[in-house]
């Protein structure tokens, strides 16, 4: 095989082996690993490596990407056993000659390295990720001081890459668990001083598969590519719920926590 150097990068430093998990739903085959030899140039990321494979070695390989700069959160995958954004991981920085690339766990696979993120978006939607107010048409701006903004600002950095759900051991065993992303976003909106939807979100957050299901393994925060620290958000949310333990559940709206039972035993 002739090595083709990519334009815009330096000299070829070495050749590494990509062991990529392949799965195609069209052929009912079981997932299998395939190996590709990729010449690595200085500055090449895992995504560049995958695109090299797609361009020169195997056109049928599928991966999802968009911005190539860690903003869109499309290219999350498991690289050498840990969730990482392919576009932000330098091949040479890994320091390995064999790079194992798997699709993110705990999601259905669409094809090869493309996970189906509908579960992530569904859970995100459940916590009502927008400012909830009583009035339908506001007459003026909702005011907020810089200090009030700091109370939730870090959680606004979430890019919905879904890597926290892949790393979370609770999510690995509980299909209905809301997941670190949704819970952290729940905290983000509840701690926003303009938002009045605390009681409305309680049904979902304070449920059997909600905030109490987290056992603080911290894996979500370890893998977050934007440093959002969802584990912190979840624990602070728990603190908030404990402090407001006597707040009456209004059971308002249609969103309900799965199999949630109230004190009277009626779901």
């Amino acid at each position: 095989m002739q090595e083709i150097a990519l334009k815009g990068f330096g000299e070829v430093v070495k050749t590494v082996t990509f062991r990529v998990k392949r799965y195609s739903p069209e052929n009912a085959d079981m997932p299998r690993y395939m190996e590709y030899k990729v010449p690595v140039q200085r500055g090449m990321t895992i995504l560049d490596g995958i695109l090299y494979i797609k361009e020169h070695l195997d056109h049928s390989l599928s991966a999802r990407y968009s911005c190539r700069m860690g903003i869109c959160g499309s290219c999350g995958m498991i690289i050498n056993g840990k969730e990482k954004l392919a576009c932000q991981t330098q091949i040479l920085e890994l320091g390995k000659d064999l790079i194992k690339v798997d699709p993110m766990g705990n999601y259905e696979i669409v094809k090869d390295l493309v996970p189906d993120l509908s579960k992530l978006f569904r859970n995100h939607q459940k916590v009502k990720p927008y400012v909830l107010r009583e009035e339908e048409s506001p007459t003026s701006e909702y005011l907020q001081t810089p200090e009030q903004r700091e109370e939730y600002a870090m959680f606004t950095d979430c890019i919905l890459c879904g890597m926290c759900l892949s790393a979370c051991p609770t999510n690995a065993a509980d299909e209905l668990y809301l997941g670190p992303q949704a819970l952290a976003q729940g905290f983000r909106y509840i701690s926003d001083n303009r938002d009045l939807g605390f009681e409305e979100r309680l049904n979902v957050l304070d449920s059997k598969h909600g905030v109490w299901r987290c056992h603080f393994s911290g894996a979500c925060s370890e893998v977050c590519p934007k440093g959002v620290d969802p584990a912190l958000g979840i624990q602070l949310l728990r603190q908030l719920l404990t402090e407001n333990i006597f707040v009456k559940h209004k059971q308002k709206g249609t969103t309900r926590g799965p199999e949630r039972k109230s004190a009277s035993g009626v779901s």
Binding site: P25, P103, G105, I109, M154, G218, G227, L232
Partner: protein
Amino acid sequence: MTIENKKGWISWFNPFKYGTDRWMYALHRLTGIVLGVYLMFHVVETSRILEGAVTWNSLMVWLDYPFGPHFGPLILSAVLLAAVYHALNGLRLTIVENGLMLPKPYRPEYPYKPRSLRGLNNFLKIFLGFFMIAISAVGIIYIFTGAIL
């Protein structure tokens, strides 16, 4: 046909590549299972006392040397370690899972190091770790020699 790529409960025991908290989570699960299994055997074992003194005494002797010398005390030491770890880590989790000893929301800065897994949480781990070593040492000495310091 899409396939579910679930990692499953087996991934609880795969803390590699993640941080200390992930290791402690795996150990907490493992020690919980160990203690649960021990508790069941313990109930069965102690219920044998109903069968009289001879059975009880022979059981006690067998438990001291089940598969060879010192094997009984070794099992007991392992259970003690599991119990001490599970209890002290449980204490730490009770504190941090209620949002105590954790930082306030902060602005993430590159290279992103989650502060919830560091700082006072780390202090708690070290502090309770010392307790764990001390309690385990006293317990294991007692199991093997019958002497309390």
